[in-house]
């Protein structure tokens, strides 16, 4: 009999959490370093409602949402230009690919210099990190469209806008969404990391402050929320991608 994956995964997670819980309660694991999972999860839930974690979560989600919109608009636009004008693509795509491989997160002091320790700096940094994958996948998705599709659009005398809406968009959507999904992971890294490192409002700052206050249950509660938030966002965009692919 084949056991469903969801069941196996749930058993694994519960087993691991139970081992840690027992280990901490029995003081095999130092409780100063590791909070019992029940406390961390309970703290995350109560923090959501009393505002100590709910507020930072809203800020982080807001920044993530703005970044996703900016990365989509700017990245898809730039990717389209690189595809539309071949010379531009040949000139700039290798550099964009180079940026994709470079540790862009280390640039975070630059937005801090420009915008100060504000949400704008977080958004700027995370958007810059998300742009290379969105640009590259957009160009790739458009370049992979079979030439017959473009010929059909020309035969029907579609305008550029109509061709984009009825031919290019639907054909490019699956690969383009892969880029957006990749962009979202980079946005999450950028947002949380800059909040943590520069102590700008959001879940990242909460983790940093709780650590400095040696409030380990607080640290783990915030980490639980980051994990849960990231899982929900990634699952949502994954589902959207699946719908588009269908």
């Amino acid at each position: 009999m084949r056991v469903p994956r969801f069941f196996l995964t749930s058993v694994l997670i519960v087993a691991l959490l139970a081992i840690v819980e027992v280990g901490v309660r029995a003081r095999v694991i130092n409780p100063l370093f590791v909070a019992p999972p029940s406390d961390a999860i309970g703290g995350a839930v109560s923090g959501l409602f009393d505002g100590t974690l709910g507020g930072p979560l809203v800020v982080t989600l807001y920044e993530t949402g703005v970044c996703l919109v900016l990365a989509t608009v700017l990245g898809v636009g730039a990717g389209y230009l690189l595809w539309r004008y071949g010379g531009l693509g040949r000139a700039f795509e290798p550099w964009v690919a180079g940026l994709f491989a470079a540790p862009l997160i280390l640039l975070y002091p630059i937005p801090l210099v420009i915008f100060g320790r504000t949400s704008t700096a977080v958004i700027a940094q995370a958007t810059v990190m998300a742009l290379p994958p969105v640009i590259l996948y957009t160009r790739q998705s458009l370049a992979a469209i079979p030439p017959q599709f473009l010929k059909v659009a020309a035969v029907f005398r579609l305008t550029q806008g109509q061709a984009m809406r009825h031919v290019l968009g639907p054909a490019a959507a699956p690969t383009l969404f892969t880029g957006l999904r990749l962009g979202l992971t980079y946005i999450l890294v950028g947002v949380i990391s800059v909040e943590y490192l520069a102590e700008i409002d959001g879940l990242g700052k909460t983790i940093s402050f709780d650590y400095l206050a040696f409030d380990m249950p607080g640290v783990y509660s915030a980490v639980v929320l980051v994990i849960a938030g990231a899982a929900v966002l990634l699952a949502a965009i994954g589902r959207l991608q699946a719908v588009v692919r269908r």
Partner: protein, 277 residues
């Protein structure tokens, strides 16, 4: 190649003009030429190479630990298949997370010295290595395993003559991805809590408003990281040249898609999507 050079000249020229024309404050955007002068000066200083050595040490040790743990995990899941079925979704989600959230825990366990940075390198490298290696080992065609067994191959021969050659390409691509994220993890940790290393040096420059020096150092880090990534990519292509020849003959193409600099092959696409810096 000429188009790339022209693009570089346009970007560098635009940067220089924007800075010289005071479109942005020199504190925000120093001229490109000043950054290059600072870069050359810093490359001639012993301190820069000492900081690079400290970072490199943490990266190499962290990467080695993360790789060993990742490969061990992959090998275990090959023996216990249910473990892979259960842990794959968890690994994917954990690999998507910003690893910096684990840094406070590492600081508590490994102190504020270099070992917490080694830990960041190990945690960062573990996920891409474990996922790619496990996937590669699980995707070794059963027909190859059955053929080897029918020829009398034991466990050791299966490992050396079937698993290793079949999984080498994806595993090496996972190592490349692991190295890239280990570099980022270590340098990022150094910008947070450290007393040496390139990340620490960049923050020293930032705190003391030596913005030109900071840009130069970041430029150095970028070029070094990109060069290492490209070098490892070439090494992988060389080491897996026979696999690529076979794939091409069979009509498949397991190489990188254009523009996707990390990882390799269709089955790694998911890992590239999820693995973070």
């Amino acid at each position: 190649m000429r188009a790339r050079l022209i693009a570089l000249i346009i970007v560098a020229g635009g940067w220089e003009i924007a800075a010289r024309a005071d479109w942005l404050s020199a504190t925000v955007l120093p001229p490109f030429s000043s950054v290059l002068v600072s870069l050359v000066r810093q490359l001639g200083q012993h301190n820069t190479w000492y900081q690079a050595y400290v970072s490199a040490w943490a990266i190499v040790v962290g990467f080695a630990i993360g790789t060993a743990a990742g490969l061990l995990f992959a090998a275990t899941t090959t023996v216990i298949r249910a473990l892979w079925t259960a842990s794959e979704p968890v690994l994917y989600y954990l690999s998507s997370l910003p690893k910096i959230i684990f840094f406070p825990v590492l600081l508590l366990y490994l102190s504020t010295g270099i070992f917490s940075k080694v830990g960041m390198g190990a945690v960062s490298a573990f996920f891409p290595v474990a996922i790619t290696a496990a996937q590669a080992l699980h995707e070794v065609p059963q027909v190859q395993l059955r053929a080897a067994r029918s020829l009398g191959a034991g466990r050791r021969k299966l490992l050396t003559h079937v698993y290793l050659p079949a999984a080498a390409g994806p595993v090496l691509s996972g190592l490349r991805l692991g190295l890239a994220v280990a570099v980022t993890g270590v340098l990022l940790a150094e910008t947070s809590v450290a007393s040496a290393g390139l990340g620490w040096q960049a923050m020293q420059d930032y705190d003391n408003l030596r913005i030109t020096d900071m840009y130069a150092l970041l430029l150095f880090v970028f070029f070094a990281a990109t060069a290492i990534n490209a070098g490892v990519g070439r090494l992988i292509r060389y080491l897996t040249r026979y696999n690529q020849a076979t794939a091409t003959r069979l009509g498949g193409d397991d190489r990188l898609q254009p523009g996707a600099p990390l990882g390799g092959g269709e089955r790694l696409r998911g890992v590239r999507e999820r693995s973070t810096r």
